[in-house]
């Protein structure tokens, strides 16, 4: 709160990002996203990501609903949803989510119900992990912005 932690917070952020990159959760596309954030759109990343979260949750719900229709799972529809999910995930650089999507889609193309269910579980897990980490990241960033906003009068 005194503006002293700005540097520390920045370091924390970088550490967290490095971890996520190392784990393969994120890729360089996320850096592209960060580059798009400037003074004209200071919250661009968090805005995009929150829309991503909203859309993705909808997609996950739909996918689960489609899979749970025991009689005839609509694999074609699932494919469309997965394309969407894959597209947006790759756009924000959510690498692992995207990879799971690819696997999921392969399973759905083969009408492999068991594979689909496994993929869905995995997808949900990855998505949750990503969401938690990104929330953590934004939280640190928020604190950092607040801390770096603090200015002290210069004494001559």
């Amino acid at each position: 709160m005194l503006g002293l932690g700005a540097d520390r917070l920045r370091a924390d952020m970088n550490r967290l990002l490095a971890l996520l990159f190392h784990q393969g959760v994120l890729d360089e596309q996320f850096l592209q996203l960060q580059q798009l954030q400037d003074e004209t759109s200071p919250n661009f990343v968090s805005e995009v990501v929150s829309i991503y979260f909203r859309e993705s949750e909808k997609l996950l719900r739909n996918l689960r609903a489609l899979l749970l229709e025991r009689e005839s799972s609509d694999y074609k529809k699932m494919g469309i949803h997965l394309n969407q999910f894959m597209g947006s995930s790759s756009s924000i650089g959510a690498k692992r989510v995207r990879n799971v999507c690819v696997a999921f889609r392969a399973a759905s193309e083969q009408n492999n119900r068991a594979g689909c269910l496994r993929s869905l579980e995995l997808l949900e897990h990855e998505y949750c992990y990503l969401k938690n980490k990104l929330h953590e990241l934004f939280h640190i960033e928020q604190q950092r912005v607040m801390a770096s906003g603090v200015r002290y009068p210069m004494l001559d």
Binding site: Q32, V48, Y52, M86, S90, S91
Partner: protein, 1008 residues
């Protein structure tokens, strides 16, 4: 005593009984809701009241059923029986008590009798039986002592048995026996009397009315009271059975016979709005089993438009089933009207407040802007500043208008009576208008000789009205003239006109006036003739409601009363403000004087204004006791006429007391035409001075740009009239802004703005002119909507449009706007389209103005359904300096490409509705074949495609670059994309580098 007891009892019973007569659920803890006075006390009062029993209609069979089946009635019956039993028991108890009393008395009497007998026996025993021998020796024994004492004790009924005979003589005993006999007789007599009384009471009891009779009397009284109360209550009470058929109805305003109502449902009885709703509501109540209230507005033939508050209550049978509803309705139409009026007022206040805050904001911004003026501004900053200032002007004007109007409406506005010269007012108004005139119009005034030199009236208001009407006329006139005709009309004129107006129904006057006008050709001169010759025919414009005419009459009376002096004469001045402008369509006439009403959204967009001017004029004229009417013919002109009563000022004192108005005017007079005799001049005419450098806006122009204002050459008159239509950039926004604007206003901020802009940026104008062969004027309206105005100079060789327009002045104005709009599109399509893209509003058009055409920003279309991708791509493009248009599927993309020119399309492949591959195939098919047949086959509707009306920007010479956006992992391979006619592909996710490369490759000539 007995009778009294009976009375007490009756009273007590009376109060106890009555509540039970009323349904139990109406009784609450607080008190009894239904109390009737004791009969007898007020019998007379009720007798005086005539009770009409007609309105209530009862189905007696149903009532019987109800009484025998409904839960409520059975409980009531039970109560009645119980009460009757109670009463009986009480009577029996009374009789028993009476009997007991009598018995007691008899017993007492018997006891006394016994005592008496005993006493005497004792005495006999004592004196006769006690025959003890008294010895002579016992002479001393005083027997007297004992006997008299005994004798004294035996007093019967406090009466001393007086026997004067000597004790124990025969005479004594005889007397005593006699005495006792008498007592016995008296006792027997008393017993008799009591028995008689008893008999009498019994008889009385028998005589007393039977309980049924008594109860029915009470019922009758209650009924009478109910009638008495209901006699003047504007309510409807009814009972409907399970099928919602009326079984009982009480209606204070009966409009139907019994047979029309009983046994029928609402829907069967009458029709119209609300009937069904009420029936549904009753049914709902019946189903839910809970009473409920609702307000229902009826619109029926039977009783017109009325709002009823309806209370419906279910009726249950003994077993708890619903067997019908009781319903009560009350007419609350007036209250609803009042309530709605209140709501409207509140809303209006809120709007006013909002506008005031808006003004504050604008003023605040303007203040900042003004302070920034000193610093050097670049072109764009200056434009923004102009927008601010002009918005401020408009809002200020709007607020002034609202304030004026609300002042008049609330009656706060007071009229002042000052002397003034009507000629000079007319002249001065024209003069002022001419000073700020920007068009080649002739402003003229005719004042008849019989108009008094000086009259008394509220000159400020009259001037306001005239100014309003004149500026309105000027605004809507592009060529010809605008003028004032002033004349005296006879006083009865007003009455005659009123009669005329009432004789002609609201629809007819339009036809009349138009037919009158149609006899004339449309040239300005004949129009002028027509207005002066045929003005009697031109009246008949409907008042905008009975309310205002009443108000008008009232205000006129007031005015007359206030200002009337016996020696003063009142003249009726009639003033026509005519023009040769675009006219008013017939259908717009009825709403012309209403607040915030403009002829059409198109007019609002084109001419600006607040929509309050004419409403204010009308209110002001009516406040002064006159009336304002309009007659108009589309494309030929309009004439606004108001007639006002004015007192003629006594000739003597005007020279002594020249008021401010006169002296103010005199200055102008001296400047304008010093030679003429100002008092009697009958005709004056003004030609506009040079444009753009005079009038009210001069000050601001100077304020804004201290540099020399360049003189912009005047165009030919018909060019101006044909071309000064503005081209809306963004239809949505302009439609929204339309409601703000109006056909009339005292000052036209838009014009001021254009003036300022033309003076501020002469270089831009000239530049644009040289490039496109046109003078361009930027127009900024209140909502920040940027408009572009084209002025073709007369030297324009391509001036086909202009001449055609001037020939077709009979054609609808809308058409002119349309062609102009198309024209605008031709020449600056990019401006058109960029207006639609997000965030680009305001800045892009300005750059398009300044840059040569070859450097117009490239138009890029993004076809993408994924929101995230759209956001990311858009943001990247923004950073690369491009704004893009986004559509969400292939179908939309094809449509978009059909109507606009694009330099580049970024196309996603996987999309709903139509994928990118198909869309690309369709576009390529057009480029090859020159028609959209393939698209039509694919189901894109023809309306959009009508290729001869829509300019197509695609041609086979120019292949539109389409770049696929693919995800590597997906099935859509690069080869497939290329096979379907795409030029290249960008793999997803898109990055700066990829985008930049792509743009460089496909937009080589554009500056990036």
């Amino acid at each position: 005593m007995v009778c009294e007891m009976g009375g007490d009892y009756f009273e007590e019973m009376d109060i106890e009984v009555l509540p039970s007569m009323w349904p139990e659920d109406l009784r609450n803890e607080v008190g009894k809701q239904f109390n009737v006075e004791k009969p007898g006390m007020d019998q007379d009062m009720l007798e005086e009241v005539t009770i009409t029993e007609e309105p209530s209609i009862v189905d007696f069979k149903r009532l019987l059923e109800l009484t025998s089946y409904s839960e409520k009635s059975s409980s009531q019956l039970a109560f009645l029986v119980k009460q009757w039993e109670y009463k009986q028991a009480n009577a029996v108890r009374l009789l028993n008590e009476e009997l007991k009393i009598l018995n007691k008395q008899r017993k007492e009497v018997e006891l006394q009798k016994l005592e008496i007998l005993e006493q005497h026996r004792f005495e006999e025993d004592k004196y006769a039986g006690d025959k003890r021998s008294i010895s002579i020796l016992d002479e001393v024994l005083d027997i007297w002592e004992a006997i008299p004492r005994r004798k004294n004790d035996s007093i019967l009924h406090k009466k001393k048995l007086e026997i004067d005979a000597e004790y124990d003589t025969i005479k004594y005993w005889k007397q005593r026996a006699k005495e006792l006999d008498r007592l016995l007789e008296a006792s027997i007599h008393r017993e008799h009397i009591l028995q008689e009384k008893l008999q009498e009471i019994v008889k009385n009891l028998e005589k007393q009315s039977s309980p049924v009779e008594e109860l029915s009397q009470i019922l009758k009284r209650a009924d009478n009271f109910l009638h008495f109360v209901l006699q003047n209550a504007p309510v409807v009470i009814g009972h409907q059975d399970k099928e919602l058929r009326y079984r009982f109805i009480y209606n204070h305003f009966p409009s139907l016979q019994e047979e029309d109502i009983i046994g029928r449902t609402d829907v069967e009885i009458f029709t119209g709005a609300g009937v069904k709703e009420s029936q549904e509501f009753k049914r709902e109540v019946m189903e839910r089993g809970l009473p409920a209230k609702r307000e229902i507005t009826f619109e029926t033939e039977l009783f017109g438009s009325k709002t009823f508050l309806i209370h419906v209550e279910p009726v249950f049978s003994k077993s708890g089933d619903t067997i019908g509803v009781n319903y009560m309705g009350m007419d609350v139409t007036d209250q609803v009207i009042k309530r709605e009026k209140m709501a409207r007022l509140r809303e209006q206040i809120a709007v006013q407040k909002a506008k005031e805050t808006e003004l504050n904001k604008t003023i605040h911004i303007t203040g900042i802007a003004m302070s920034a003026i000193c610093t050097n501004l670049d072109q764009e900053q200056r434009q923004l500043l102009d927008v601010m200032l002009s918005s401020g002007d408009l809002v200020l004007q709007l607020i002034n208008d609202i304030l004026d109007l609300s002042k008049v409406e609330s009656g706060v506005m007071k009229l002042e009576a000052t002397k003034f010269r009507p000629r000079e007012v007319a002249k001065h108004v024209l003069q002022t208008a001419a000073a700020s005139l920007q068009k080649e119009l002739i402003l003229e005034g005719h004042v008849a000789d019989d108009v008094p030199v000086e009259v008394i009236g509220d000159v400020l208001r009259i001037r306001q009205i005239l100014t309003n009407l004149i500026s309105n006329a000027i605004k809507f006139t592009h060529e010809g003239k605008v003028g004032i005709n002033l004349r005296v009309v006879p006083e009865q004129y007003f009455g005659h006109e009123e009669g005329c107006q009432s004789a002609v129904s609201a629809k007819e006057p339009m036809e009349e006036s138009s037919s009158a006008a149609s006899q004339n050709s449309c040239s300005p001169e004949s129009m002028q003739c027509q207005t002066s010759e045929e003005d009697h025919d031109q009246y008949g414009i409907p008042d905008d409601g009975a309310g205002t005419s009443v108000k008008m009459a009232a205000s006129m009376d007031e005015y007359k009363e206030k200002h009337h002096h016996p020696h003063e004469t009142v003249v009726w001045l009639r003033c026509d403000v005519y023009d040769t402008g675009i006219g008013i369509p017939e259908k717009a006439l009825p709403t012309l004087f209403k607040k915030y009403m403009q002829v059409s959204a198109g007019h609002a967009r084109k001419y600006g204004g607040t929509g309050l001017g004419l409403a204010i004029c009308k209110q002001l004229v009516e406040l002064m006791g006159g009336h304002l009417t309009v007659t108009s013919r589309e494309h030929c002109g309009s004439t606004f006429t108001f007639v006002l009563p004015c007192k003629v000022s006594p000739k003597g004192d005007h020279s002594d007391d020249p008021d401010d108005e006169l002296s103010d005017m005199a200055d102008h007079e001296a400047v304008a035409d010093p030679n003429t005799n100002e008092a009697n001049i009958g005709y004056f005419q003004f030609q506009p001075r040079t444009m753009g450098s005079s009038g009210g806006s001069t000050t601001r122009t100077k304020l804004l740009s201290p540099s020399i204002v360049p003189h912009i050459p005047l165009h030919k008159l018909n060019d101006l009239s044909a071309d000064s239509c503005s081209v809306p950039l963004n239809n949505c926004i302009s439609r929204e802004s339309a409601s703000l604007e109006d056909a009339c206003s005292t000052a036209d901020p838009a014009e001021i703005v254009s003036e300022i802009e033309s003076s501020l940026r002469p270089d831009v104008d000239l530049n644009a002119e040289s490039l496109t062969g046109r003078g361009m004027q930027r127009h900024v309206d209140a909502n920040g909507l940027v408009m572009t105005r084209y002025h073709r100079p007369s030297t324009d060789s391509n001036n086909v449009q202009g001449s055609r327009d001037s020939q077709q002045c009979m054609k609808k104005c809308v058409e002119v706007t349309d062609t102009d709009e198309k024209n605008g599109e031709d020449h600056s399509p990019s401006t058109q389209k960029h207006g639609k893209s997000d965030g680009a509003l305001g800045t892009v058009p300005s750059s398009s103005l300044e840059l040569p055409k070859s450097t117009l920003p490239p138009k890029i279309l993004l076809v993408e359904d994924n929101k995230i991708n759209v956001m990311v791509t858009q943001s990247m493009m923004k950073q690369l300096g491009h704004s893009i248009r986004v559509v969400n599927n292939g179908l939309e993309a094809v449509r978009e490409v059909q109507c606009c020119r694009y330099d580049l399309v970024l196309m996603d492949v996987c999309m709903p509705v139509m994928d990118g591959l198909q869309a690309t195939r369709l576009i390529r098919s057009f480029e090859e074949n020159g028609n959209w047949d393939a698209a039509a086959e694919a189901g894109i509707d023809q309306a959009v495609l009508s290729s001869d009306s829509q300019p197509n920007y695609l041609d086979s010479r120019n292949r539109l670059p389409i770049i696929a956006m693919t995800a590597n992992a997906l099935a859509e391979s690069a080869a497939e994309c290329l096979a379907n006619g795409m030029d290249s592909f960008v793999s997803k996710p898109v990055t700066f580098q990829k985008l930049k490369q792509c743009l460089q490759q496909y937009l080589p000539s554009k500056n990036l």
